[in-house]
């Protein structure tokens, strides 16, 4: 698949403009763009601007209500429940984590659970928001059901990522991962390439291991059964029940505490209903934040410097690859694939946006 590189600032202006054409205010468009571009800059193409068309589709299929206003259902000095009333995930995400951060600064902890939302981009964005303020940040979300519980054959949990970020030198710690073996995005990449999936990623409709990407994606979309395995695979031998358990943590924090829809009930027809959680923890609850940060940084350095397996040259700590990807993309631009460009052209055509005036003449 062909790629073209687009500079960060160029893509930012374009994305801001597209989302404002969808009907978001300038400030809202900037938040949405910031979440999407952080994913691209971190090298996570699946959750970046290539999702523009999906948000467009979510407006069209009625899951995303452009005129909705979020509502605070319950609030204490250290917690809140918010109903997003089918609004945009990135907007409630930014609002809810800002609220969690405020509470953590004032009261030590902030834990906000959100219901009735839509896809909010990378969980790590929100965890990082807290980390940038010197706090420990945690975020989880549920999503359309794709994870099959151990010994099942029907997807009952989402990709259900858990992200956590904590200040450290020279890189902040940022761990952000789905609790499935892989995300649907990776299965889509194999499908586009027409290659068989690696063993251990997915189950077919009968609950057997499968390497047929097209069949898996069709079954997930049509709710025929099958889906993606929890981290640890299809049996307890390699710990599949553990990935299923981590997926449950994301579900508890996101959909259970907020009294929202669990993954198996979200994103069906015109029902969205995705749920999220946002937690900020002030390290001053435990002593001197600077000493804690120094202690953590020293351990992370020990990990990176520890002996490598034969044939390996580096051990990464979580967040390091993203920092490096960011630096490369800031210099060389964000690689955008030809399908994404094609989808952007269609959106621009509908909204009468002069794409070339933003992105130039693209050699693709």
């Amino acid at each position: 698949m062909a790629y073209v590189n687009i500079q960060y600032e160029t893509m930012k202006k374009f994305s801001n403009h597209v989302f404002s054409k969808f009907g978001f205010t300038d400030d809202e468009s900037k938040i949405i763009t910031d979440v999407l571009l952080m994913s691209d800059m971190f090298g996570i193409e699946s959750h970046g601007v290539q999702r523009m068309v999906r948000y467009y589709n979510t407006i069209k299929n009625g899951r995303l209500h452009m005129d909705s206003k979020l509502e605070i259902i319950h609030e204490t000095p250290i917690s809140a429940v918010i109903d997003n009333n089918s609004g945009m995930g990135q907007l409630v995400g930014h609002y809810a984590m800002s609220k969690a951060i405020e509470k953590a600064k004032t009261s030590g902890v902030g834990f906000v659970s959100v219901r009735n939302s839509n896809h909010y981009g990378i969980a790590g964005y929100y965890a990082k928001m807290a980390c940038d303020e010197g706090l420990i940040g945690i975020s989880t979300t549920n999503s359309e059901a794709i994870m099959v519980p151990t010994y099942g054959r029907m997807a009952m949990l989402g990709s259900n990522p858990i992200a956590i970020s904590m200040p450290a030198e020279p890189y902040d710690f940022l761990f952000d991962a789905s609790t499935t073996v892989v995300t649907r995005g990776k299965v889509e990449v194999y499908n586009k390439k027409g290659e068989p999936l690696p063993e251990g990623w997915t189950l077919n409709a009968a609950g057997h291991n499968s390497t047929d990407a097209a069949d898996i994606l069709k079954n997930i979309n049509e709710k025929n059964g099958g889906g993606i395995l929890p981290l640890g695979g299809s049996t307890e031998k390699l710990g599949g029940h553990k990935g299923y358990g981590y997926g449950m943590i994301a579900e508890i924090f996101s959909s259970i505490l907020s009294m929202g829809l669990t993954s198996n009930h979200t994103n069906i027809g015109s029902t969205g209903g995705t749920c999220h959680s946002f937690i900020a923890i002030n390290p001053n609850l435990f002593g001197d934040p600077e000493s804690i940060k120094a202690h953590f940084s020293s351990y992370l350095e020990e990990l990176r410097q520890s002996p490598k397996a034969d044939g390996q040259t580096r051990i990464y700590t979580h967040g390091e690859k993203e920092i490096e990807a960011y630096a490369v993309r800031l210099k060389e631009g964000i690689p955008v694939n030809e399908n994404t460009i094609k989808e952007m052209k269609e959106i621009c055509s509908e909204y009468e946006i002069d794409m070339e005036s933003f992105l130039g003449k693209l050699d693709i």
Copy 2:
């Protein structure tokens, strides 16, 4: 390996007596016994009374100080840091989770991080303590380094379990799992049987996949390199970096926030230094606890009732197997293996305990 079944009440009296002979008070011995026997009753033999000899050894090798007193280093209405001053893990665990529960009842959340402790048994015991009070309970611990980070060949993290428990009907939710593929106990079982390990569990000293249980255990003990893989295996293809990430969460909550020793520095020579965390969250932070519990119970029932994979008859929710094991053992007794009986005999001989007067004449 031969097993003999011993009734719960019988084993309780015996264990209380042994720990009091080690030098613990009656109340302390009861707490320690309660933690160990819950593991046995839940069917987790590795963390039950078979560990009696290990605690004995920890006293002998100087890692466990019988005369130590725990010390509160830092405290707020929602948090605390405790230095266990090389005391028994179960005792500080029970104390710290009780404190977290008290804080969660008064202030909504309690988060206690503990340093300079020793092995505390199953993490799930402490999570369940909070759940039994209607709260969400979370506990983590680090341990002697056995987990090799992705692309490494030296164990730098412990088995680092994360346990979480939350009230539900008809079974409370209780997820308790190491963040490694398996615990060291499982590798020990294969070693005792002289069977090769399943593929994907361990790495040898050079960082290559290995199935040689004896070699792995020797290398862990002698710090030669190698160890057990994070959940997800040795590469990023099946998500090994994710298991490594979950292990880091346990490390952050346990050893980083408490300014304690990270796993790679614990349990060396006469240094213990294990660290734990105990979190209790009051569901009333988010609304009506009974409604949240009913919502959760309904989702758990949907999971159990969802379609099974071909050849499978049940989908479990976390904690269900433990409840069933408990009922069986309450009726049939706790299966104790011949090696454990042998070790108990040696301990009884040293402390002049009449084992037969407690356990009867054992047919083993």
